[in-house]
């Protein structure tokens, strides 16, 4: 069984490596990871679970005794999330991590001090926890977005007092078909404020890339709705009129080929496209965030936790502050906007992934201004410089939390030749470990090994031969590495096809996640047996195939998978179950015939 085990060991190794952030080979100059970064205090984030509160209190009391530390809540928002701060250095950090306290915490990490050269004089800047959480001051020390243009595809932008000193370039109102793209809702002006609110003007609040140009593109009505046709035209308008970055704090509906083409067009013209992941608290970003070449942004709150409304999972590339007003409005994102009814300028706290996306768009403008041109490189820098979030199995944070200072620092460091080569290659090929269902692969492998063991009890047969192992591999697993591989300028479907196991081929061919009952059945193993039974070597391949497909279908059975034309119901379960039995019967017949044939 050595070879079989070796294969599953390798899959396991890949899975572990992929789960580990180190798999994403590359350079990282994340400030928080550098040895030089300073800290005087340590953050303790206790686990949240029913019945744990009392234990946390006990641990806090122990902490005071054992280490002579006095834990304090980080902010008024921290109590519900059990986030505490204690004074301490590297030694205390190590001691805490080694103590039994670690079992009760999600993380124990240094509370790094970010030194900055510049704090703006906007009187309400202190209320913008969000800008501090992305270390915006460290970015400002390098660049403030000068020369870059950010198209805000939204409800329009009204030039409120705190946008008077911000640069504007001509935009368009696609709802009312006119050049002036004023806001009649309040959403677009708020989003624009996060990107480029007039800053250090002694008034109001700050924005991230406040020296950048704003291009107002109104596609959403006063009620906040817009159609795909207008949004698509706005994307093309931005690309044709010199935008460097597009922000789309909007979403919904289904996939649109028209919109995907516009996104590809803007991308080919060097535009970085950022979109909100959506606020349904569901396990996939909405469109347009989910399109390729769009940076999908999820939201976290003032404590750095996933915001309760934020979508997660597929399509989330990075996380940024979107706030949560659940425990009070100051947990939201504060910018100047207009009141929907009166039209008058007002400072308002909003929450949403709509608020998170413009943080990323603002930092993208800073990177463009520093001189990074290729949108892939901007995305790479944003993602590699992001603060990594441990144990994020639901992909609530993508590459991590946006870090403006680390991104600007990474962008200003000139890469050595190998770094540039790597960056070029990375822009041609990239690998997304998250598209591979590691758990399912391991489970299918284990079940296939168990079935194989059962057959060896029936008769000794050459299960360690190549023919049998290749059969199992194609039936249960497929060339799974290809599932995560993307190649620039090539469509994804041929890679998905190559990366699929036999029962998944129907899904890959028709790009439909539901199991296709023609492929996910005993039909192909049966054809294999009929064709190959008389061949002394290849019949082991067909037997392996039958065992592999049986293992694949067994896992589908455990997960109540949706079967095309049938549904995700008892009939589908019965269909899969019967086919597992039939596949095993095909394998048993092959084995019986081969045994009577003298193997």
């Amino acid at each position: 069984m050595k070879r079989l085990f070796l294969i599953f060991f390798l899959i396991g190794l890949f899975a572990v490596a992929a789960a580990h952030e180190g798999f994403q080979t590359g350079y990282s100059s994340n400030l928080a990871n550098s040895d030089q970064a300073e800290f005087e205090s340590i953050i303790l984030d206790f686990r949240e679970a029913p019945g744990l509160t009392r234990q946390i209190d006990d641990r806090l009391a122990n902490l005071a005794q054992q280490f002579n530390l006095s834990p304090a809540l980080n902010s008024e928002f921290s109590e519900a999330d059990h986030v505490y701060v204690v004074q301490g250095d590297r030694d205390i950090l190590q001691a805490l991590r080694n103590s039994d306290l670690a079992r009760f915490t999600e993380f124990i990490e240094p509370n790094y001090i970010y030194q900055s050269l510049f704090v703006p004089d906007d009187p309400d800047y202190a209320k913008q926890w969000n800008l501090q959480s992305i270390n915006v001051e460290g970015a400002w020390a390098q660049n403030r977005g000068s020369g870059a243009t950010v198209a805000v595809i939204d409800t329009g932008i009204s030039r409120t007092p705190d946008l008077q000193k911000t640069n504007f370039v001509p935009g368009y109102d696609f709802v009312n078909d006119r050049d002036q793209a004023d806001d009649d809702n309040g959403h677009g002006t708020h989003v624009a404020g996060t990107i480029a609110q007039s800053t250090n003007n002694g008034y109001g609040v700050a924005g991230i890339a406040y020296e950048a140009n704003l291009m107002p593109l109104k596609v959403l009505s006063a009620q906040g709705f817009g159609n795909v046709a207008d949004i698509t035209e706005a994307i093309r308008f931005a690309a044709d009129n010199g935008a460097d970055v597009i922000n789309m704090s909007l979403g919904g509906g289904g996939a649109s080929e028209l919109m995907q083409e516009a996104v590809e067009y803007a991308h080919s013209k060097g535009v970085v496209i950022v979109a909100a992941a959506g606020n349904e608290s569901s396990q996939s970003a909405s469109y347009p965030a989910k399109y390729r070449h769009v940076i999908g942004v999820s939201a976290f709150d003032a404590d750095g936790k996933k915001a309760p409304y934020s979508n997660y999972g597929l399509g989330v590339d990075i996380a940024a502050p979107g706030g949560s007003t659940l425990a009070g409005e100051s947990g939201g994102i504060l910018q100047e906007t207009i009141d929907r009814l009166s039209g008058k300028a007002q400072f308002k706290y909003f929450q949403g992934t709509s608020m998170a996306a413009p943080h990323v768009a603002g930092v993208a403008a800073v990177l463009k201004s520093i001189g990074i041109e290729a949108p892939e490189t901007v995305e790479t820098v944003l993602e590699y410089s992001a603060q990594k979030v441990g144990r994020d199995s639901s992909n609530a944070f993508g590459a991590g939390k946006l870090d403006a200072a680390a991104a600007a620092q990474m962008a200003t460091v000139r890469l050595p030749w190998w770094g540039q080569l790597w960056q070029f290659l990375r822009s041609l090929f990239w690998f997304d470990a998250k598209s591979i269902p590691w758990k399912d692969l391991l489970l299918r492998g284990a079940i296939a090994a168990a079935f194989t063991w059962l057959f060896t009890r029936m008769a000794r047969f050459p299960w360690q031969g190549n023919a049998y192992l290749i059969g199992i591999f194609l039936g249960a697993i497929g060339l799974f590495i290809f599932k995560g591989l993307h190649v620039m300028y090539l469509p994804d479907w041929p890679l998905r096809l190559v990366g699929s196991a036999i029962p998944e081929l129907g899904s890959a061919l028709w790009r439909d996640p539901r199991l296709n009952p023609v492929f996910a059945s005993c039909l192909i193993p049966l054809a294999g047996m009929l064709l190959l039974l008389s061949h002394r070597t290849l019949r082991w391949f067909s037997m392996g195939l039958a065992v592999g497909v049986a293992a694949f279908l067994s896992v589908s059975l455990l997960e109540s998978t949706y079967v095309l034309w049938i549904g995700a119901n008892a009939i589908a379960q019965a269909f899969i179950g019967v086919n597992v039995v039939l596949c095993l019967a095909i394998a048993a017949i092959t084995l019986r015939v081969a045994t009577s044939d003298g193997l």
Binding site: D154, H190, G224, G226, N227, L250, G252, G253, E280
Partner: protein, 77 residues
């Protein structure tokens, strides 16, 4: 376009600049679109006949966008 019937409670959702929604008893949230002025009252129990618009996007992104065709107010709660 297919119409669908949704029964639930009207709510104002604080997402982005805020929007009106109907939340069904099963917990599914639909964002209200179209001529909704007379439905815009928190806590209203309603039955709405409408179409889910897949060609429309919104700034609130809270769920499917339901264009109201007709409605019946069940109670003012």
């Amino acid at each position: 376009m297919d119409t669908t019937t949704v029964k639930g409670t009207i709510q104002w959702m604080e997402m982005g600049s805020g929007t009106w929604a109907v939340v069904t008893d099963e917990g599914q949230t639909y964002e209200l679109h179209g001529d909704t002025a007379s439905l815009e009252k928190k806590g209203l129990k309603v039955q709405i006949e409408g179409a889910v618009r897949k060609d429309v996007m919104s700034m609130s992104m809270i769920g499917p966008i339901l264009e109201v065709k007709s409605y019946e107010i069940l109670s003012e709660s």
